[in-house]
Symmetry: C2
């Protein structure tokens, strides 16, 4: 019986064209992370369930959890912050503070699948561990700014706030206020009341917030960003952003791209109490996670992603089985010169079929070596887009294709 080929709800295959775009963005992110001196870290996809449980607030029902063959309760990586905190406690003697790490791995969340909501997501995090002062927050916010600048975004805004401004506010109110943009002022007030507060209290919470002013921490951060040369068109104080994680302990920030209305594309915060779940000593920490899918979608809409179907530069065709050795020799030479070269992998296919393959897969050049070319010691190079065709020596060919 045939097995029906299908993917689980909320999970995605990425065919080459989509995978190339993802790779491009991952490359950019890694480049900027490294430009800021962050070092890579990798943690396993599976952890003991208790590593995650109790950290994440209202989202625990979203864990992918099960019992493994040895009867251990395990969970798939839900985020990258908690595993890194575990790592810091576990390898205390191997890690020097301040520790600037980045992590680019998959996380899994049993969300109700819907448009733009997936159960498997790539996350890209950068965090600084071991620094209490706001300079660390400022440095990761500077990195935040440089990421979106490097993606080619002009019109984006890093909205910055400080969780300490709400110290007297109950957690469930903060979670509600975070929805201000989504459900509006009336919606927020209504929801706060539903949570057991009266009209006056609800209004007071909201007004406390709308009238908040930057504290010393935030002022230090803004000065830092100005010293590093960032334009004030790309960052601002916004007391209405709240983030929903219950482990935030200080500055919080989000990136919003006005042309993209599906929500913020990055979220960051200080979380000084999380490492302390794994050891007696707290380790202060601050950093962010890029929403990879949203960022990719936003860049696609803004036409900031390369539109390429392939990275391959040239297809070497096979004129006939007898002439195949010539083609293989040329292909080997091109590859030795770093030119991305495909060879048609079937010596019995007609030239037409080979050209059609190059056309469909988007390879810009093809090479033909027939009996005449062999005799003259040249190759025929055809540019697919322009239709231009030329006879070249191997030396010349390398130059043309390397440019």
């Amino acid at each position: 019986m045939k097995i029906k080929p299908m993917t689980l709800k909320g999970f995605r295959d990425f065919l080459p064209e989509a995978a190339l775009k993802r790779q491009y963005l991952i490359g950019k992110i890694r480049e900027v992370f490294e430009l800021y001196g962050f070092l890579p870290l990798e943690t396993p996809a599976l952890e003991y369930l208790e590593t995650f449980s109790g950290n994440i607030g209202e989202d625990e029902k979203l864990f992918f959890k099960f019992e493994d063959q040895g009867g251990r309760k395990v969970a798939l990586r839900y985020d990258q912050t908690v595993p890194t905190c575990r790592v810091i406690a576990q390898y205390r003697n191997l890690i020097t503070l301040p520790f600037k790490r980045y992590q680019i791995q998959t996380v899994w969340r049993a969300e109700k699948p819907q448009k733009g909501r997936y159960r498997e997501l790539l996350q890209c995090d950068a965090d600084i561990f071991g620094v209490t002062g706001p300079q660390a927050d400022a440095e990761v916010i500077a990195l935040t700014l440089d990421l979106y600048k490097n993606f080619g975004c002009k019109n984006f805004m890093v909205k910055i706030n400080d969780r300490s401004l709400f110290r007297t506010m109950p957690y469930e109110v903060i979670v509600t206020i975070d929805k201000l943009k989504k459900i509006g002022k009336e919606g927020v007030l209504e929801e706060i009341e539903k949570k057991g507060f009266n009209k006056t209290q609800a209004a007071e919470f909201l007004s406390t917030l709308m009238n908040a002013k930057p504290n010393e921490t935030l002022k230090t951060i803004f000065t830092y960003l100005k010293s590093a040369g960032f334009s004030q068109e790309n960052f601002s104080f916004d007391p209405t952003i709240a983030r929903s994680f219950n482990y935030s302990t200080g500055p919080i920030w989000e990136v919003v791209i006005p042309e993209y209305d599906a929500g913020s594309v990055l979220g960051g915060e200080r979380y000084d109490k999380l490492v302390g779940r794994f050891q007696n000593q707290d380790v202060p920490a601050t950093g962010f996670a890029i929403g990879f899918d949203r960022t990719l979608e936003a860049l696609e809409e803004l036409k900031l992603l390369p539109q390429e179907k392939t990275k391959t530069k040239v297809l070497v065709t096979i004129f006939s089985p007898e002439l195949a050795p010539e083609s293989l020799r040329i292909a080997a030479t091109l590859r030795q010169n770093g030119i991305k070269t495909d060879v048609y992998p079937n010596f019995d296919s007609k030239l037409d079929k080979q050209l059609k393959y190059a056309d469909i897969t988007g390879i810009p050049y093809i090479i033909i070596i027939g009996p005449q070319e062999k005799e003259k010691g040249v190759v025929k190079l055809k540019n697919f887009r322009s239709g231009e065709q030329q006879e070249l020596t191997i030396a010349k060919l390398k130059t043309v294709l390397s440019s």
Copy 2:
């Protein structure tokens, strides 16, 4: 109560130094895959269990399988070949044959944890789908050769065989013969007898095999590799290699590095019947999986991996909070020039502590901007290894650090 920070058996954390080595090798592999015109593909970490079950032969007990929240039987990605076969059947109209795809993702196997055996592994696959002829096998074997050449290996051997040579041999005998190198001739004979064959039969199986000669398919492959310029010191016919997957249908090959005795570092094969599990039509296929951990370990032993603790070039120190803006301005300039630059993220730390941080994390240069430097409009650049120290203008600094 504190949670004990620990990793599950068979799962690994990679701290920066190890993660950098892994990244280096992944980069090399991707580079060579693309040099050969292969395109990236990504599939989900979770699949319906039935996608995997029944394909893999004797290893099914190694699946990480469970029921998800929706009661679906699911399994973690066990290999990358089966999911790609599913993809080919599922997106038939979007995929042009021949289809050359590579895939670099994690797989999970519930192996008994022991030295060098992990439950979470990176796999790096390259396969050609849609070609029956041996040129496709030859092309992926050429890629195999160029991979290990590009890693810097001199002394490695691609051992090539054809499963069709054993067409009359029972599967359990083939599996046993694959252990020839591990358990020796006597061991193999003994194990075949245990599987219910008599002494004469066992001896005959083994002798059939030891005296086998290359068939037409293998001769074509060897001619192809010679045309592409590969040295015969790096590939040979070896009738004793068998591979244990029960879906091989033609050529099979392995890479062995003589100085590394923990087993083959890459395995490949033709498997023409696997896509046909998901659709009525068979699609021929051939390709390989790099054993990433073993390859990395072998390269480490051969000293072919870069020994770097960081990619960061320079640490900009903070002389005092008042002079911090100078440091931030310099750091921003260096980063705009593509120089990987760290800034010490705490303005109150003594210079000594900052230097110690650079030393431990392996950053080769540090920059100091004190009151004198500020006044003169220069920076002090110190090379950690040589101890050399110089005063430079910003323009000069960029040149020195870019080199």
